[in-house]
Subunit: 217 residues, 2 copies
């Protein structure tokens, strides 16, 4: 049967957001992190979704960093998905920002505490509208960019992912069942940095010819 997940359903009905960290080499270097021995995954609550056009709320005392990412939307529930089967579980894509309370993250990383709070504030997952799978011929040949107040801060290529989408789905679904409507975040390229209320943030996803497939602001 065709997936029931469409342009808005995943934001309203999806139950989880599963993200991978440290999936672009240049971003690992900029945060002085080490390359993990296996994919590093974490959960964000769906209450953190912020549809395009909304304003990120930055809690007092928080340094909020943007991380532009390619999102993958699950169209068919699965557990222990093989890399060969991964594509059949994808309904489409979205452009997303994995907002992160970086100053709080620095503390929890030092103390060995969970990341859920630092990644999970309301409005911390700005999300574009749904991009149908057929609109993207090769998800590993896209450009991902983010501007703040008109200045380009992030300009990466999904061809630089360390773990590609089939491996990400295989790994995540070896731990937890992925359900129809779940969003998978595939990691951010380099250039992350802070925003403050009033900053104008513009993100774009484009194919290899420069054609814009989605925007988010």
């Amino acid at each position: 049967r065709p997936s029931r997940i469409d342009a808005i359903a995943f934001v309203q009905q999806g139950k989880k957001i599963v993200a991978i960290g440290r999936n672009y080499a240049e971003h690992i270097k900029e945060l002085k992190n080490t390359v993990p021995s296996e994919p590093l995954i974490f959960l964000k609550p769906t209450t953190s979704y912020l549809p395009s056009g909304g304003n990120v709320e930055v809690p007092r005392g928080v340094t909020a960093h943007y991380e532009v990412e390619l999102g993958v939307i699950i169209g068919k529930t699965g557990r222990e998905i093989s890399q060969a089967d991964a594509d059949s579980h994808i309904a489409g894509y979205a452009l997303a920002v994995d907002m992160t309370a970086r100053n709080m993250q620095d503390v929890v990383k030092k103390k060995g505490l969970p990341w859920s709070a630092v990644k999970g504030f309301d409005t911390f997952t700005p999300i574009s509208t749904f991009i149908p799978k057929l609109a993207i011929s090769d998800p590993h040949n896209l450009s991902l960019s983010l501007k703040v107040n008109g200045a380009v801060k992030q300009d990466g290529k999904t061809s630089d992912m360390i773990h590609r989408i089939p491996r990400i789905l295989e790994f995540m679904s070896s731990i937890m069942t992925l359900e129809e409507g779940d969003l998978i975040l595939t990691g951010t390229p380099s250039g992350v940095g802070p925003i403050v209320p009033g900053d104008k943030v513009e993100c774009a996803l484009a194919d290899s010819t420069g054609k814009v497939l989605s925007t988010l602001n």
Copy 2:
């Protein structure tokens, strides 16, 4: 209006599980942890639910520890819930086990990595049926016990919680909106330890007179 959340709906429809760690002093000591300066929270995926009677699956190489906990089920969505209002957001309770891949958790704590994988495997949240709010007159005057193969391993009192339920809801909802159907895990007393496939695990929740309110096995 009355909450739509009932005996089975929260397991099937709830979107998230938000847990507090280190909420009983004796448990903090047994794992040689320090008392956190503010509540320590983390997410578990709802795909980890295992209704009573099911078998926990222990992945190869994993030391799976039980942690019996009182669960609180949210009946009314709220953000920045005050302690005074907390009770009005509660639909009921459940008896739960927060299964934890302890050997993996020891590694991620040392490396400053997220806890989502070590807490998030399928079947890692055994859960009782729904306990209506009216069945429990004082959630901070209950006993929580867990036996393995007939031997009592955990036997705690919810009166020993460091952060009580109104404070837990206040803290969590200051970060993320709590939605109808969400499960809140309130921490485990001391006595945690490993189980292996084939072990018989029996949990009970009782009031101060010894009357059993719920069981889970």
